[in-house]
């Protein structure tokens, strides 16, 4: 693997354009756009304040830079570097900013979730959406970009509004049977909306596109409930990861659980293959640590690691989190289906894995940790259905 030189960035704001041609990074208040293949700087934009959030539009023509402290959003164009756009939310403040799927509207969530302002770059028109809910995932756009589902809370009741992204026309508005809506997500085919409750209650509701309640699923009561929900790319399965360290998979025909995956602390299953990273540090005697040796032998600090297969039973090191703290670091926090819906990668517990991402071919998985990354390749020859 070859690595390029190191570029500066701030706030972990570094994104590749959707068409894969450009790379945008933020350094303090500057936005740097590079060509993906040569890494040459193509454009350099300057914003009015330190950039808190940066995002590409879906057609890779525009980049939005949000400065939450100042309540400003600036939009830059790649085609016309002279073009500028500045959105000032004024005294109402800015909490988050995002693009609409068509890449021509910007949705700003104001402070205290007072409202969502929809700014149109085509017509300079403004629309307001009242009472958005402050939750884990309150907005979701359907994959084809036609519809937007928004969680609302009025009079201590949860509602979901479905908007048509074309002209922000309110298509449906219905109440949900949740105590405290935690999040919502469209299925990849855009026909089913999964809505789940906060962690205090395990409840997953499935609504069809026109607002009818299709099904309710609740695995247990009282204990902390749903932590994360993911659809499979074929819309056939819905995987629910919960605080009881189990993943339950529902099927799209009956919306009943078809299988359940557990994450026991001791792996006894003979079919499971456990890879353990073993670090090999070259043994260094104390008297060898002279300056001479250190400057010459860089291998001193390179730790080689390799993976060896551990025979079952394997004990996984588990750190018991403090039960008195809220949002404990137990339970399944990340789920990722491979693109052909064959595999499901899960992360349970407090492991330092930031994200799991599958390659689009569905054969390899990248695990990103805080300081390390790991690529896992699936052996397709040994695969059995």
């Amino acid at each position: 693997m070859n690595f390029s030189e190191v570029f500066k960035q701030s706030n972990q704001l570094c994104k590749v354009s959707p068409d894969g041609k450009y790379l945008a990074t933020c350094v303090q208040y500057r936005l740097v756009v590079r060509d993906m293949s040569t890494l040459q700087i193509l454009q350099l934009y300057t914003c009015l304040d330190q950039i808190s959030h940066m995002d590409w539009s879906s057609d890779s023509l525009f980049i939005l830079c949000a400065m939450y402290k100042r309540g400003l959003v600036q939009v830059w164009s790649l085609e016309q570097p002279d073009w500028h756009c500045k959105i000032d939310e004024g005294s109402i403040g800015l909490l988050s900013s995002r693009w609409s799927p068509d890449g021509r509207h910007i949705l700003n969530t104001t402070e205290f979730h007072l409202r969502i302002t929809v700014w149109s770059l085509c017509t300079k028109a403004v629309s307001y959406i009242k009472y958005p809910k402050a939750c884990q995932k309150g907005i979701d756009f359907s994959r084809d970009g036609c519809y937007m589902a928004l969680a609302e809370r009025r009079d201590c009741k949860d509602y979901v509004s479905v908007f048509v992204c074309d002209d922000w026309h309110l298509l449906r508005h219905f109440e949900t049977e949740t105590q405290d809506l935690g999040g919502l997500e469209w299925s990849p085919n855009g026909c089913v909306l999964a809505v789940w409750d906060s962690c205090l209650e395990y409840k997953v509701l499935l609504y069809s596109l026109d607002g009818r309640l299709l099904s309710t699923y609740s695995a247990y009561e009282w204990s902390l409930g749903v932590k994360t929900v993911t659809w499979s790319p074929s819309s056939q399965f819905l995987a629910i990861g919960s605080y009881d360290e189990k993943v339950r998979v529902l099927n799209h025909i009956t919306w009943k659980k078809i299988t359940q995956f557990e994450h026991p602390a001791t792996i006894n299953n003979t079919k499971a293959v456990v890879y353990k990273e073993v670090e090999r540090r070259p043994a260094v005697g104390a008297d060898d640590l002279s300056l001479h040796n250190i400057t010459i032998g860089t291998t001193l600090f390179n730790t080689q690691s390799k993976y060896e297969i551990c025979p079952p039973p394997v004990q996984i090191p588990v750190v018991k989190p403090d039960p008195d703290r809220a949002n404990p670091k137990i339970g399944v926090s990340t789920l990722a289906f491979s693109s052909d819906s064959r595999y499901l990668a899960t992360k349970n517990g407090g492991f330092q894995v930031q994200s799991l991402n599958w390659h689009c071919s569905g054969d390899s998985l990248i695990l990103l940790g805080k300081e390390q990354l790991c690529l896992c390749y699936m052996d397709t020859d040994q695969e059995d259905k």
Binding site: C85, D88, S223
Partner: protein
């Protein structure tokens, strides 16, 4: 012991006289207790000495002073000694009686004690039994109570665990609530601050967007006004999306359903075939089962054939299928269980194992041989020779067959050629024959002229001479007409057939011809006569009906045969 013998003798000698006293003595042992007296006839005047010595002995044996000392002087007894002796004896006797009494008393006492002890022992035994029973009962109860205690302890433990779990849940929920509360409070405070700030702040920063120029829409189209139509369109699009999704899903489910149905049908067929093939093997005691099976299977088979091509849409059909599958499966299961439990099972297994082993060995040897073959180094000649050695016989046979085939083919060719030649020849001959016949007939006809001595007209001229249609018109101009008749046809066409009434005559005439083959000229003359009659007379013209194609053809046939 002389003394004893003496005693015995004495006793014996004086037994006669003494037995009564002894008897009396013994008898009077009791009465002695009752203080009765008795007369002793032990001593008489005769045996005083003996009695004395005897008594002396007796007394000395008892430990008393001798009564009488042997002083031969006088036989007078020492009265004092005797009285003392008597007194001692009486005392002794009294003592004896007393001790006897005591002993009797003692005995009574002890027997009483024994009885009492027996009674107490039986009572105690009963008590012991009772208490043992009680003990076992108590032990049993104790055991049960212990079990109960254990189960209650378990329950208690479970309850405690559950309580603990619930407490944990409550604790986590409480911490979650607190966290949320704090968050909300913080937000609330921020809101309050912001509100204060806004109230204080004079200048209000308004929201605004500052764009250099409007950019076009992503899809390039112009945006539409929000009207009812657009709303309806959106609704329609939404429903379309939903419907298409349901459609695809339904199609998938249909396919899956069809697949599963097929599989079920296949399974059912297989099971039925298996069970029906096993039926003859089944023993007679299972006949009842079979009978029932046969009926329902017949039913099902009928059902199958009728529904085979029709998909099972209706609920009843589906239910029938699933029920029948279940039934078959149950039968198959019971059958397999029966098979398993049969005694021949083991033998079968062994036999099969042996067979398998043999087959394996066979395969092994085959493989080895094959390996040898493949690996054996052979030179090119042998290789080329052996390259197709396996198929040699077949190839030779094939070659032979090809050869025979080729021969046959040539024969066929030859024959075909011959046939074609023959056919050609035949056609030629026929043509020639036809021509011949035509000429002959023409000749004949022409020879039927009214002028019998006239020359025979040339053959070539009168192809058309057959056509008598001209004769129909006028008898006189017959010859010219005959000539003038359209030529080109060997055989007179039916269209030119004149309708005459002289068919019989003509027929007769023509019929005569085949009969008398040798008398051709005569016939000719006959013909001529006839024709003479024909052409001459003002009499009704009798045309020869011989243009009737059928008759003509038959005649020609007859003539052919004659020729």
């Amino acid at each position: 012991m002389p003394e004893s013998s003496l005693e015995d003798k004495d006793i014996c000698s004086s037994s006669e006289c003494r037995t009564p006293p002894l008897r009396q003595f013994s008898q009077s042992s009791l009465p002695l207790h009752r203080k009765s007296y008795m007369l002793s006839t032990f001593c008489t005047e005769q045996n005083v000495q003996e009695c004395q010595s005897h008594i002396n002995q007796e007394v000395s044996s008892l430990g008393l002073q001798p009564v009488w000392t042997e002083s031969g002087s006088s036989s007078e007894m020492n009265v004092v000694a005797v009285l003392n002796c008597m007194y001692d004896l009486i005392q002794m006797h009294r003592r004896g009686l007393r001790s006897l009494e005591n002993m009797e008393v003692e005995q009574l006492k002890s027997s009483g004690n024994v009885d009492y002890l027996q009674l107490t022992s039986t009572r105690l035994k009963e008590q012991l039994e009772l208490s043992k029973r009680e003990n076992t009962g108590l032990l049993e109860r104790e055991r049960q109570l212990q079990l109960k205690v254990k189960s209650l302890q378990n329950c208690l433990k479970n309850e405690k665990e559950e309580v603990q779990k619930l407490q944990n849940i409550i604790a986590s929920r409480a911490s979650q609530y607190n966290h949320e509360m704090k968050r909300k409070e913080r937000e609330f405070n921020k809101l309050k601050e912001r509100l204060n700030q806004l109230l204080i702040d004079k200048k209000e920063k308004k929201q605004a967007i500052d764009v250099l120029n409007n950019i076009g829409r992503a899809d390039g189209k112009r945006s539409l006004w929000k009207t009812e139509k657009t709303e309806a369109k959106h609704e329609a699009e939404m429903y379309k999306a939903l419907l298409s999704d349901y459609d695809t899903r339904q199609r998938e489910l249909l396919l899956e359903n069809a697949e599963l149905n097929k599989v079920l049908q296949q399974m059912k067929k297989d099971m039925v075939s298996i069970l029906s093939s096993k039926k003859p093997i089944l023993k007679g005691d299972k006949y009842q089962d079979d009978g029932a099976q046969a009926d329902s299977e017949d039913e099902e088979e009928v059902f199958d054939s009728s529904k085979e091509s029709v998909e099972l849409y209706c609920v009843h059909a589906r239910e029938k299928l699933t029920n029948s599958i279940r039934l078959q499966w149950r039968r198959l299961k019971s059958h397999v269980e029966r098979l398993d439990s049969q005694e021949t099972h083991k033998e079968e297994m062994d036999r099969l194992k042996l067979e398998i082993q043999q087959c394996k060995d066979f395969i092994q040897t085959q493989q080895q041989l094959l390996q040898q073959q493949l690996s054996s180094p052979c030179d090119e000649e042998t290789a080329s020779l052996l390259s197709d050695c396996y198929m040699l016989q077949e190839k030779e046979r094939l070659g032979d067959e090809w050869k025979t085939l080729e021969e046959q083919r040539t024969i066929f060719e030859r024959e075909r050629r011959n046939f074609t030649e023959a056919a050609i020849r035949l056609s030629h001959e026929r043509k020639a024959f036809e021509e011949d016949r035509a000429t002959w007939l023409k000749h004949q006809f022409l020879n039927l002229s009214p002028f019998p001595d006239s020359k025979k007209p040339p053959m070539s001229k009168s192809k058309s001479a057959f056509l008598i249609s001209e004769t129909k018109a006028s008898a006189t101009s017959a010859p010219e007409k005959l000539i003038r008749c359209p030529s080109g046809t060997n055989l007179p066409t039916p269209g030119c057939v004149p309708h005459t009434s002289s068919t019989a005559d003509l027929y007769r005439t023509l019929c005569l011809i085949p009969e008398n083959g040798a008398t051709k000229p005569k016939r000719k003359s006959d013909h001529a006569e006839e024709s003479g009659v024909f052409f001459n007379g003002k009499a009704p013209v009798r045309h020869k009906q011989w243009n009737d194609s059928e008759e003509h053809s038959s005649h020609t046939k007859e003539q052919n045969s004659s020729i």
